[in-house]
Symmetry: C2
Amino acid sequence: MAKETKISMAVIRRLPKYHRYLGELLRKDIDRISSKELSERIGFTASQIRQDLNCFGDFGQQGYGYNVKDLYDQIGKILGLDKNYKTVIVGAGNIGQAVANYAKFEKLGFHLQAIFDKNPKLVGIKIRDIEVKDVDCLDTYLKENKIDIGIICVPKEHAQSIADIMIKNGIKGIWNFAPTDLNAPDDVIVENVHLSESLMILSYRLNESELFKE
Amino acid sequence: MAKETKISMAVIRRLPKYHRYLGELLRKDIDRISSKELSERIGFTASQIRQDLNCFGDFGQQGYGYNVKDLYDQIGKILGLDKNYKTVIVGAGNIGQAVANYAKFEKLGFHLQAIFDKNPKLVGIKIRDIEVKDVDCLDTYLKENKIDIGIICVPKEHAQSIADIMIKNGIKGIWNFAPTDLNAPDDVIVENVHLSESLMILSYRLNESELFKE
DNA sequence: TAGATTGTTAATCGATTAACAATC
DNA sequence: TAGATTGTTAATCGATTAACAATC
């Protein structure tokens, strides 16, 4: 991570897409690519691609372009995909189970250590060989086990209190699926997945375009 | 939807959050709010709130502020939440099932009509009283039933071919959970939920902040 | 009326695009 | 070397914030 100055959120949100497209090129045994050609595939301007990449270092070579494998690895490193994270899921309902079973998850270095729920019908069942624990044990569990990331899949009414327990016990990142904004100190990173917002935006765009006639 | 000129994506992506916060105020029996007070709750500047809302009409009143119920309803209408949409899910794996069982879904006016999968082990099972059909029937089904929105929850390798069938049969919106970018004509709206991108951004931010020491 | 708060214009800030010298 | 393509600066575009007259 070469250069200084704060990277803008706009750039950061494009990084995973670079990583994904470079991964595809790699699988196609393409070993070099110019910003112009990548631009045509990925849909960003060549100029933007060069600007974005230059936030992190001089990855390219004049007259040649970028080495695909190299750049893929570099961006993976920038994204922290070379690291390992210990995670817990709180909320073993539909979304919690889907996340737990989400295969890509482990591949990216996120290792699920435990799952919690408050529903007695779910406590005790096994998901991916992990027995669901009672949420009352969460606080104790987090004290006894160093966990990096907490995944919140509970209804919005309980999300903040679960987040508070996580924060109190030193969790550094929260992946929040509850449809609410969590309060957290600056040194705890919260990344939201708000499905209903996504759906509303789809609905808006459908109507805006006048495509949708009931 | 009063005013003209194209609304920017930045504004649109904030609309669901307005809707959510106004819904909360409503439940707390607060019936009027100024841009300043809303600003303190929602975390946007008062100026931005007034700018955003004015894209769609003059909802406020000088010296008074905004009527919560009114504004909530207006934004709901702008988002198309007063409409009903017929949907199908293709892919009855973890994510497909989670989406199918997602309660909020129906409440927003999205009515699930059918679920498809190609796995014989899943074909025939019932999810929310809907029997999973073989994906080979998708094309015929869409010809016989007018569906508004297709939800893609299949692995990325199959996403485009499913999308093609949907597009060919007149589906106007696609909610895409497959980690790939779909090709679609301009009159088909694609809204992506890329979970792994969200996770990568969390990972990046964790490392950037130097909070994460392995 | 006086006070409050909007709607809207102007100023600022930040992000994207264009251009081109540097250089492989 | 000549051609290609980067890294980077400057120009443009768009989004956010500030300011304030209009008005409830």
